[in-house]
Subunit: 443 residues, 2 copies
């Protein structure tokens, strides 16, 4: 993408309203724009990251056997009256009345609607296990939205819903999502620790919050430091096999949020030099809640014995839009964002220091074309801004590599290649630059 | 995808509520499910088609130079008060009051918000032309939603917005979208005819509706039959060049909807044997409306002469979710949908007539793996339903090819390969089947 044809409104000043670094950097990097309290437009650079995060979530959900559909944002209140949550949900639910005076709402979650879809078409235990998920905009009318996309009102969430014949099978479904989550977050460069959690308005007996440690996290967390060293299940993990050993391994050490922590237990079970007491950001939560929705809503299947039984359900959320904030909180420096390559909006920023120059133009054009042809995503700064502004903008937006083409270096046929994370710079020929970046960025 | 692990709730009976064939077939094929009047869930098969249509729209918008972002669904009423449309829009706007008693709305379109984004960051004519688009769920509270996704309340729309210094440049932007639209619809197997149109609540002087002819179309249309034979601009069309000759060619013959038709002009300008008087489905609309929004909202740039002038704008919609209905209206038979390969949910339906059989299982598994590895998307029916139900389901969902593996044919090493569109069947070896489908379905 040529910057001269792109829309990248970089802010030079730190926006006053932003209290935490991810919010500040997303505004400065021209990724988002607030439209109302807690409601954001995703500018082109932000949307690219959002889409990449979404793709990783989709790939791992698919790998774990979940099937994607898409439910609407606006729901009928009647469904929520069936489960008893319409009154219970309180002021966070955005309630709407349509032109025919029907009670509607902007969905904050979809347990009721997916249960309705299930009961309308699934009849037999032979169609189980079933795990249906979608990635859709939700709305929670937070009393005090803040921290940018970390606690917005309109937000993008992945929510999956599993249906099984009994608790034993439901726990197998739970384990598949648990393992998928470990893989999902790691692919974005994050270590998310599953912690015992309260079930809140979703309900149920078994629940984990997946927490990324960060100074600006919203809650205090307590866990064993071994979590930071644990291996993640690889590409070859068999989702048709028994995953209970992996889940047992990832839940054997103490980890709890402040809502449920038992300090005596924490101190008794974790040696002093292994205790982490920190702050954390919740990036996902898993629930097993049995027949809480299937019973009142009549979602039953005929079992092997010919009798109808309510299905056992779980739900599994990932905060897709919130993840941008979490990744930035975990990966930045004083100059801006440092994107892991897997979710970077572009892989390489190619900076032409003197557009119109007889040396820089042909080298940049040629390298730009060759990198794109090699599958490298390039943001090509072909604008006539001054060098300092170009460098600062590239650092703020945090692409993994910068390639700087200036008349001085090119007299010797050399470009400067900078690794955004380490800050290391080297002078390379155009060919060596292409080879290095192709090796680093493509499979 | 193995059907045994998928979610495809085929309806055997024709649903009573569906008045038109696309609505009927989308329900029967398990593509959508109504959640409230005019509000649908997109079941897995429907979502796959929706995503493919969206990708084509995105590719052609990108080719024409438009830059993608994403605006939220919920908007502040204050923005619409600036343009004067908040009161004017009437009951089709879904109005919402949040917990702090602020007036909000579920966006039916985004002229105001994109103008607000533009004015907040673009200052100079040097940053023009600019065309920003998004693909987002919209809501229009239709008094009588019907025809499934053709006239729903919550619907997916692509809307692009162009910004230029003056009318001449704005018409160039208009022409780029005009040509992009010709290409977009053709890639989905549709011939969309640009017709003179009323501008309605968007406003402006220059507008075309892109209309697909179909018996079940919502409005009467009148046009020259030459439109059905015209060439579409190819992959090599230069969006940086002058597109006015293409637009002139595509607007030289008479074409108008009933809202604006002048029958005397129609009959005077089109020879009798070339007159088409038919019904049509609107699948997109383009508008040039000058400074209608930029003036009241203060969206100005500094021109070459140093003076601030309001920008000239246009907007360009494509009814993404509605296109599924339009494509089905244009391409079906008495047995079901006939998808063009470009938007088909899967390319091939592989039917194992006897799962568990020593002949059919290994052939199907091997062919399934090889087709997927070749980039062919396969829905593999590995269920134990009876043959008749399997055939009927494959015809209803309308994948371009069916491959039938039965014990009888496989005694001679042969599979039946059926072309869904022509109905032609041939008996081929597994190797010949793979070669034929790879040649037909991959680039």
């Amino acid at each position: 993408m040529r910057l001269s044809r792109y829309f990248l409104p970089i802010l030079k000043e730190n926006p006053k309203e932003a209290e935490i670094v991810s919010h500040r950097l997303m505004l400065r990097a021209g990724m988002i724009r607030q439209q109302s309290a807690g409601i954001y437009s995703w500018l082109p650079l932000g949307l690219r990251v959002l889409n990449k995060i979404q793709r990783i979530v989709e790939e791992e959900q698919h790998r774990a056997g979940a099937v994607q559909l898409l439910m609407p944002t606006v729901q009928s209140a009647d469904l929520w009256r069936e489960s008893g949550r319409y009154e219970a949900y309180g002021k966070e639910m955005l309630r709407i009345t349509d032109r025919h005076e029907r009670d509607m709402l902007f969905g904050p979650t979809n347990e009721e609607m997916i249960t309705d879809i299930f009961r309308s078409s699934v009849r037999s235990y032979k169609d189980l296990p079933l795990n249906l998920y979608h990635i859709q905009w939700k709305f929670r009318d937070e009393v005090r939205p803040r921290f940018g996309v970390m606690r917005g009102r309109e937000f993008l969430m992945k929510d999956a819903y599993s249906f099984d014949l009994d608790q034993e099978k439901a726990v197998e479904s739970y384990n598949r999502m648990f393992v998928a989550y470990l893989r999902t977050y790691r692919r974005m460069g994050l270590t998310a620790i599953p912690m015992r959690a309260e079930t809140g308005p979703i309900g149920g007996d078994l629940s984990h919050e997946f927490i990324v440690l960060a100074e600006t996290g919203e809650s205090a967390v307590y866990c064993h430091s071994d979590f930071l060293e644990k291996d993640i299940p690889g590409n070859d993990v068999d989702f048709d096999g028994d995953l209970s050993a992996i889940v047992a391994d990832w839940t054997s050490n103490y980890a709890a949020t402040e809502d449920v922590v038992d300090m005596a237990e924490f101190e008794a079970s974790v040696p002093e030099d292994k205790r982490i007491s920190a702050r954390g950001i919740e990036v996902g939560q898993t629930f097993y809640f049995g027949t809480k929705y299937s019973e009142p809503m009549g979602a039953t299947v005929t079992g092997p014995d010919g009798k109808d039984v309510p299905v056992h359900m779980g739900s599994y959320g990932v905060g897709v839009s919130r993840l941008l904030g979490a990744i930035i909180e975990a990966s930045h420096d004083e100059n801006g964002i440092i994107w892991p390559a897997s979710v970077a909006p572009f892989h390489v920023g190619l900076v032409n220091l003197k557009p119109g120059d007889a040396l820089t133009d042909p080298v940049c054009e040629d390298l730009y074309a060759k990198m794109e042809a090699a599958g490298i995503e390039v943001l090509y700064d072909d604008t006539d801004q001054r060098a300092g502004a170009k460098f600062a903008a590239m650092d703020v937006i945090g692409l993994p590599y910068q390639v700087i083409a200036g008349p001085r270096g090119l007299k010797d046929g050399l470009l400067e290649v900078k690794d955004r994370k380490t800050g290391e710079k080297e002078m390379l020929s155009a060919e060596a630059t292409l080879n290095k970046l192709t090796a680093a960025l493509t499979v």
